[in-house]
Every structure is written in structure tokens, then in C-alpha cells.
């Protein structure tokens, strides 16, 4: 019987099978940020276990609230900083070099096909875009990961999502994943790994694949995963060129991870995107999704472009294509948060930051900030934000606020008109 990519990765990392359906895996990368890690560090210290299994496999960043907004967040940052120093964690990213974890770590080449990755963050599934098994975990799992380099999971079961057809102009990965979540509902993929397949996925760049995998957890999935191919190899080439004779050799090696033709899937979902319209959420659950035309005309107070879902250079380019030569609506506050310093710098080089500023956007440093309502763009009671982030939970961006999730293109269109708008109306 053939194996899925997830089954292959699990088999290659198996340390222990403590019960028939449970597998303890060796970890290749343990990623840490300042919201969920400090409490793990303090707990390990208190228990006399302040050790790390392998400082080279730990990657740490201060990203959620940076620069700190108050003394509590400054303390969290300090605990991380001191810990990274104490254990000689080289890959630690502090102010000036820090960015949103799930955008920053791929950019640094830390994630490779076949890897096992955990982080105390639910959107760790993003890294599945590289053909890795990457899952969000809680603080106790993180502590064990830091200390022992292992994590326990249920034996993998996979939901295969085949994406076929041709993506219409103005429709992006964000629209595909919102539509998938709508079909599956918020717990339709619980305990499953979502394997994205099909010609549409093959044609997506890494940025778009990350957007897809990023939101797999919003349908309850343990992770999203894409098969690593030439696109993956080209993205990683600066980091792997010394390991392979040629790009083709890397592609061939990556292909050994691919799911076998006779692999068994728990479930399969096929979606044809040829007629897909831009998607947008309403309400407070990410499966409450409609075609954008159904919500057209709803007023927004703020537009937020950024986050691990859509804060990469490709997203900023897409938004800028609409903002160029236009000014945002009077009543709208536009906020751009490039996800990493490299993205910010690239956007400067390409003149995109100027386009945003000329249109009336405020440009912030890389951080999670408003995405989780902790800083840098929190909503007031009753306010509405068109956002490129991944969660529209009640109060997520501020108590009493409401978030409509959408693609960067749709968010830019909302900024110009001040209401939810089909981006096609502004594309020319």
C-alpha cells in the first residue's frame, strides 16, 4: 500500500509509538515566539530543566508585539532574548531583523521538504507549503520540543484537496482557501492533514502556497501540505545549492517525499476554481464566506494589509496594483505591515511603499500587531476592518470590532471605495 507525504515524513522521524494510534516524532525545527515561549522558559527554569535539545534546531523571534507596547510585552521580549543568549541560539531575531514568524522563517531557508516542525502557534501549518509536516502546538508541547526535540501526534490521516480549472484574473490563493474552508466548515478537517494537489497548486508560487497552508487550521486541520517541486527548489536554491549538483537533482530528491499514486486518503475534495469569485468572510467564523458581490457596499473603517497569511511581497504588489495613482476613501484608515524586513526593503526598492503612502496608507514595521488585536491598529467597539489576515473571531482585532477576511487585492479595493468592493471594478 502506498504512502502519503505525511506518512512518509512520520515514518522517517518516528521515535516511539506509545499507543497504536500515537506517534512520537523527532523534530527538525522548533520555532519560538515571545507570546507562547516565555511561559515555557519560566516553567522549565522553575522545574530545573532550563536546557535546549539542540540550539541549532531552535529558531526564535520576537514578532507579535514589537517594538514592545508596554512593560509586560517588554518583559516577554527580555525573557526570550536572555534565553536565546544563554543557550547560544544563533537564529534569534530581535528588533531590526524580526518579522512575522511564518513569513520570516521560510525566507531564511529554515524549512525543507520532509522536515518536522512545531511552534507554539496555530498557523505553523504555513510551513507545510514546503512539503514539511508543520504543526501548531501548545506551550507544554513546545517545552517538550525545546527540551527533548520530540512531539507526539496521532497517526496521520490525510484529506486530499484537488484544485482544478484555471484561476480567473483577480482571484488569489486567499480566495481558494476561503472557499475550501466554507465547504469544509471550521471543523471539517479536524485531526486531518490537508494535502493540496492539482494543476492550480502546481502553478502557484511559494507565497501563494503559504497562504493556502496558513489557513488549513481554520478548517481544523493539523497541517496543510504541498508536494515539493521545482518551485520549491527554486525558492530554496540559495540555501541548498551546496547540497545538490543541480536544481534538477534537488527536484528529483524532493520528489521522493511525494505521496504514492496508491496512497490512501481519508477523504477527498475536488474544487474547480474556473468560476471562483473573490471571497470574503462575514460573521465571526472563518467558514462564514460569501462571494464578494454579496457583501458589496458594506462600509469599512479600516483596511489592514499584512500578517503571515498575506504580508509578503507578492501580496503588497497585488494591493499596490489597485492603489497606484489612487487615494483611499476619506473615512478609511489604511494600514500596511510588511511581514518581514526583507519584504519591507524589497517593497521600498520597487517603489511600492511610496504607492501605499501616496494613497494615504500608514506603513508600520513588521509585526503581528493588529492581526490578533494586541497593538498597531486595534479596532474600537463597532468598527469594521477589511483585512488580509486569517481570523475573523469576535473581538480578534479589538473588543467589539469586526473583521472581514479577504485577499490583498480585495482589501486594496475596499480601501479606495471605503466599502467592500469587487476588485475587478478597479483593475484595468
Amino acid at each position: 500500500m502506498g504512502k502519503t507525504i505525511a506518512e512518509k515524513i512520520f515514518a522517517a522521524h518516528l521515535r516511539d509509538t506509545p499507543a497504536p494510534d500515537n506517534m512520537v516524532l523527532d523534530l527538525d525545527v522548533v520555532m519560538c515566539h515571545e507570546i507562547t515561549t516565555p511561559i515555557a522558559i519560566l516553567d522549565l527554569m522553575e522545574k530545573g530543566m532550563d536546557r535546549v535539545f539542540d540550539p541549532g534546531k531552535i529558531k526564535a523571534v520576537i514578532d507579535h508585539v514589537t517594538p514592545p507596547k508596554d512593560s509586560k510585552t517588554a518583559t516577554q521580549a527580555k525573557i526570550m532574548r536572555d534565553w536565546a543568549r544563554r543557550h547560544r541560539i544563533r537564529d534569534f531575531f530581535d528588533i531590526g531583523r524580526n518579522g512575522v514568524c511564518h513569513a520570516l522563517f521560510p525566507e531564511k531557508g529554515f524549512i525543507r521538504p520532509g522536515y518536522t516542525v512545531i511552534m507554539g502557534d496555530s498557523h505553523t501549518c504555513t510551513h507545510g507549503a514546503f512539503g514539511a509536516f508543520a504543526a501548531g502546538v501548545g506551550t507544554t508541547d513546545l517545552e517538550v520540543g525545546i527540551l527533548k526535540g520530540v512531539c507526539a501526534f496521532r497517526a496521520p490521516r490525510t484529506l486530499r484537496v484537488d484544485v482544478t480549472g484555471t484561476l480567473p484574473a483577480g482571484v488569489y490563493a486567499k480566495d481558494i482557501i476561503l472557499n475550501i474552508i466554507k465547504r469544509l466548515t471550521v471543523n471539517g478537517a479536524t485531526d486531518l492533514i490537508m494535502e493540496f494537489r492539482g494543476p492550480v497548486i502546481d502553478d502557484l508560487d511559494m507565497s501563494s502556497r503559504m497562504t493556502l497552508c496558513n489557513m488549513a487550521v481554520e478548517a481544523g486541520a493539523t497541517s496543510g501540505i504541498c508536494l515539493p517541486d521545482a518551485t520549491t527548489a527554486r525558492y530554496l536554491w540559495p540555501f541548498i545549492s551546496k547540497d545538490y549538483e543541480s536544481l534538477d537533482a534537488a527536484v528529483a530528491d524532493f520528489a521522493t517525499w511525494h505521496s504514492d499514486d496508491d496512497a490512501v486518503y481519508t477523504q477527498t475534495l475536488t474544487i474547480d476554481v474556473s468560476d471562483l469569485a473573490p471571497q470574503v468572510t462575514y460573521g465571526f467564523k472563518p467558514d462564514q464566506v460569501k462571494d464578494i458581490s454579496e457583501l458589496a457596499g458594506s462600509r469599512v473603517d479600516q483596511v489592514y494589509i499584512g500578517s503571515c497569511t498575506n504580508g509578503r511581497i507578492e501580496d503588497i504588489r497585488a494591493a499596490a496594483s489597485i492603489l497606484k495613482g489612487r487615494v483611499i476613501a476619506d473615512h478609511v484608515r489604511g494600514i500596511l505591515t510588511p511581514a518581514t524586513p526583507a519584504v519591507y526593503s524589497q517593497a521600498l526598492d520597487e517603489g511600492l511603499i511610496k504607492i501605499f503612502m501616496d494613497s494615504g496608507f500608514c506603513v508600520l514595521n513588521p509585526t503581528c500587531g493588529a492581526c490578533l488585536g494586541m497593538s498597531s491598529g486595534v479596532l474600537a467597539e463597532g468598527e469594521v476592518c477589511a483585512s488580509t489576515t486569517n481570523r475573523n473571531f469576535n473581538g480578534r482585532m479589538g473588543k467589539g470590532g469586526m473583521v472581514h477576511l479577504m485577499s490583498p487585492l480585495s482589501a486594496a479595493a475596499a480601501a479606495i471605495t471605503g466599502e467592500i468592493t469587487h476588485p475587478g471594478e478597479l483593475l484595468n
Binding site: 507570546i35 501548531g136 527540551l147 527533548k148 471543523n187 488585536g373
Partner: protein, 178 residues
């Protein structure tokens, strides 16, 4: 190991996310105790008033709810917010994966029971007391007012049971893995 059970509190909604269990603004706390007053602070229920400070919730050690409890953010703070309020059992139709694992990792219980049984528990009158029999995989809910009982069974993954018996994943992993 803890004994599990006690007064129950019922929340009649599915898909309660961890932002609702403990809002992000409290994630800057580095002590679990500090989360105590903020449990379920932002929860809104459509058809009833929900008061996070209600005496019934203060007294409860068991939470009974519907499906997909604990979805969203991975924050273990959601589990700790329950723990520091002495709630060490959540009974639901189903859980989000990370939340469920976080519960067992802390050595406390996320029990999945049949929706029909949960419905019956919701229908019990007045104050309800719940007993959990881990060895036999049974839950008994009883109304203090009428004496009426609902019996239900749950199957626990054997590994999760090991974690609970060991007092959580850190203690277990420390013994088992070098």
C-alpha cells in the same frame, strides 16, 4: 493523579474559540494565576445572557458544551484559564486538536461524549453534578434538584490516559525520552 468531577457549568454553543476562552490581550501575562478573572470574558451567546462572573461558573469544576470546543489559536492559556478556575474536565461533542492535546498535556480531561448524551445533560434541571470514572470510561451527570441521572461513556485514547496518569506530557516525556 487528580480526581475528576464536581459541579457542572453548561455552555450551549459550538465552535467556541480560544480567543473567547481567553482574549489575546491577556497573553502578555507570564503567570497562569493572572488569567483567573478573565476566563470566557469575551464570550457572547446569541439566545441567552452569559455572565462570565456568574456564581455557577465560579463554582464549576466541569464544563459541558457542544462541538469543536477550543478552536483557533494554539494558546495553552485557554487551558490554564480553566485550570486556575479549578475546571479540570471539559465534556463536548468534539474538540479542536490543539486544545484537546493541551488539556491532556496538562494532565486534565477533554472528554468526547455522544451528542445525544450531551443533549440529555443539557436537559437536566437545576444544578448538575458530574462524576468521571476514568478506569471504566464513564461519566455520570445528576441533577441535584430532581435526582435524575444521565450516564454516558467516553473512549479515551490510551496515550492520552497515560499522560493524565503521569501528570502531563512534560513529566511523561522526561521519564521516557533522553
Amino acid at each position: 493523579m487528580n480526581t475528576f468531577g464536581g459541579p457542572a457549568f453548561f455552555i450551549d454553543r459550538s465552535d467556541i474559540n480560544t480567543d473567547e476562552i481567553i482574549p489575546a490581550k491577556y497573553l502578555t501575562e507570564i503567570s497562569k494565576k493572572a488569567l483567573k478573572p478573565h476566563l470566557l470574558e469575551d464570550l457572547r451567546l446569541e439566545n441567552s445572557d452569559f455572565d462570565p462572573r456568574s456564581p455557577a461558573l465560579q463554582k464549576a469544576t466541569v464544563l459541558v458544551t457542544r462541538s469543536n470546543f477550543g478552536c483557533g489559536s494554539s494558546r495553552e492559556h485557554a487551558v490554564w484559564a480553566l485550570e486556575v478556575n479549578d475546571i479540570n474536565v471539559v465534556i463536548a461533542d468534539s474538540f479542536a486538536r490543539i486544545f484537546r492535546q493541551n488539556m491532556f498535556n496538562c494532565g486534565i480531561l477533554a472528554l468526547e461524549a455522544a451528542p445525544e448524551d450531551i443533549e440529555k445533560m443539557f436537559n437536566l434541571k437545576g444544578e448538575v453534578e458530574i462524576q468521571v470514572d476514568l478506569d471504566n470510561g464513564r461519566v455520570t451527570a445528576q441533577s441535584r434538584e430532581t435526582g435524575e441521572r444521565v450516564e454516558s461513556s467516553f473512549t479515551m485514547n490510551p496515550f492520552d490516559l497515560k499522560l493524565v496518569r503521569a501528570g502531563g506530557w512534560l513529566a511523561y516525556a522526561d521519564q521516557q525520552y533522553s
